[in-house]
Symmetry: C2
DNA sequence: TCAAGCTTGGAAAGCGCTTTCCAATATATG
DNA sequence: CATATATTGGAAAGCGCTTTCCAAGCTTGA
């Protein structure tokens, strides 16, 4: 039904080849007067090139596939925004898939594989894997990706990967977590608990490892480690669990002056600090603490990871490790679309010490 | 480079037609033994159908285009998540475009048009427009969409539209805003100011209209209306502006007991309430107020719109109008993919009264 | 003036699939 | 047993483009 190039060519009184050459960037450019005629005809008929046909003929689609876990999570949506920016700049469209939803036909755990297969089917020029599962674990995924790479596709993985030919965007998850823990210890905190993310995510694992090593360096060990999903709810539940496991007692409601007689671990020392593997989860943890009558940072301290944009408006401000999420998305897209770039690219962030861990707000505001 | 159907057919010793019939759902199903041979060959060779070629042959792509404003905004990312869910259930891939980034070739304001043209070029089966600009305004956009619809494409617009043949998902922006204003008035608030979003968004306009009408119904008028972008920063800046315009004075810092001698509009009445057209902006407004020494809700009240998921962890809890964002995305996708559905579908939400406007938390927590 | 080089438009061969016919075989009917 | 009717696999014609050759028509230089 839509007008096709043949019609434009006929209308302009030129051949198919000529019309193609003037309308869709070719090395050869027909004479200006002819070109003008063709463009006029195209405009008049409302011609829109059929990208599918072009893809078939040129064997390149102008598509880049992005697989995230949950697009509604600020971590992924910010990353996606960065990807989009670069993609649009280089005239690419982004195909989005999420691994958190019921996948087409694949079993629950195979959402990532299903997404990759779909992308391969659409012959995307590149695939960016940000879902952060342990991608190398599934041999079918690895096989599919390697075949894809061998037939010219580019693959970028957020994190380390064993897949031959894939580029990787290394993120200082472990080092960052270590640095964060160290900074808190230097500030005088002596007791820590950890809220880890889901065990199958290597991002989560790396961060927890970093926390633990940071503590170890100061001869400390976490009082407890609780796992939970990377969501606000997950942080909330894990915190409630932690409160029970550690037997934490909130100051009695009427102690408005803040008598910390029941403070854990002791009335005198610095309060317990909960190291959380991710900001979203940390936010949920803070809500749980507040709901149970703990003051932050007076009774319990909290630290997160990522520095997601929404943190800007939180009070008390969350201590965290800032990752340049948007920029990471851009880098990933660049690695995907500019073949000459060398991998791996390493991304580091910085420790951001704020109120939730007992630091005074350095004239935050804006 | 990737294996093609011809090779699978040869390997299995059948014709191209037969191979196609067994592998890619056709009405006719070859005999079971033959089918088995074909499937085995496909599996062995790692055959993945070329979706572009299929699209060309079948003239249907299995693609649905989604254009949002900013995928990093919780409003859009939650909506997108809903779209994704339905799309993946009906075996569709989502092509994502954002109108907030520098577009390929189109001038700054034309990002939406550029996105739509790209989608049309890729022959997506449907296009969902959630960018919420006044879509009907641009005749080129309208023309492109109508041509698209005439050639079989489906279009779903978030909000009203004049485009013939497009389905629309009507959202109770105005009615919701009115209901919210009314509820606050009933609660005793007498003085209001409005933080409006960008003027070119009809979502923003409808909400402001609703606020104003709600006030009018009680013979009130907003003390001031400040415009700003739909971002945290926009809310912050607009609030600072408002503070100056209204000459608001925060209680003196040392008045720890909360002596509201300088409270606006008067020490005795209920405090000023700022109605904000969107939650993200409202969060920024709260930060600005806090930074300037105002207590919420004691000195100034705030109300937002949307009830984005991240609100869950905010304190004080934000009074708002809850929109079923995720569900809206699902409905939009359903309208886009299930032709028999009748449009328009109307979405309503509900007033949620919380701490930020002086309501006591109804045992929120979780 | 003519050969040797350019430039330029067009014909036609794919790109990898789906699907319509057709022919061939198998099954049912008189 | 012969004829009519299903079934089933295959040949081939597209789907809408790009791009390689070709054949003209021009320009240039000796």
């Amino acid at each position: 039904m839509p007008v096709k190039l043949t019609e434009v060519a006929r209308e302009a009184g030129v051949s198919l080849a000529t019309a193609s050459r003037v309308l869709n960037g070719s090395a050869r450019t027909p004479a200006e007067d002819i070109a003008k005629r063709v463009r006029a005809a195209a405009e008049e008929l409302g011609y829109v090139a059929n990208a599918q046909a072009q893809a078939l003929a040129k064997s390149t689609t102008g598509l880049v596939g992005l697989v995230v876990h949950d697009i509604a999570d600020p971590y992924f949506s910010t990353f996606a925004h960065g990807v989009q920016k670069v993609a649009s700049l280089s005239h690419h469209q982004v195909l989005l898939a999420g691994t958190d939803l019921p996948s087409e036909d694949a079993p629950p755990g195979d959402a990532e594989l299903a997404a990759v297969r779909a992308f391969i089917s659409y012959r995307t020029d590149a695939i960016i894997l940000a879902a952060s599962r342990v991608t190398d674990e599934d041999p079918r995924l690895a096989a599919a990706l390697e075949r894809y790479i061998n037939s010219g596709g580019r693959v970028v993985v957020l994190g380390a990967t064993k897949i031959a030919g894939a580029s990787s965007l290394m993120v200082a998850n472990k080092a960052g977590a270590m640095a964060l823990a160290t900074a808190l210890i230097e500030h005088g905190t002596t007791h820590f608990a950890i809220l880890a993310g889901p065990a199958e995510r290597n991002t989560a694992r790396a961060r927890v490892d970093g926390f633990v090593e940071g503590l170890q360096a100061a001869s400390l060990v976490p009082l407890a480690t609780v796992h939970g999903p990377f969501t606000s709810r997950g942080g909330y539940d894990a915190t409630v669990d932690l409160i029970h496991r550690l037997g934490l007692l909130a100051p009695t409601p009427n102690t408005t002056t803040g008598a910390d007689t029941s403070r854990f671990p002791s009335p005198s020392g610095s309060p317990l600090c909960i190291l959380v593997a991710n900001d979203v989860m940390a936010l949920g943890a803070m809500t749980a603490l507040r709901t149970h009558g703990f003051r932050i940072p007076d009774d319990v301290q909290v630290a997160g990871f990522d520095d997601i944009p929404t943190l800007r408006d939180h009070s008390p401000a969350l201590t965290t490790y800032r990752l340049p999420l948007e920029q990471m998305g851009q880098r990933a897209a660049e690695l995907a679309l500019e073949p000459q770039l060398r991998s791996p690219v390493t991304i580091t962030g910085e420790v951001v010490l704020r109120e939730s861990a007992g630091f005074t707000a350095p004239t935050t505001g804006k």
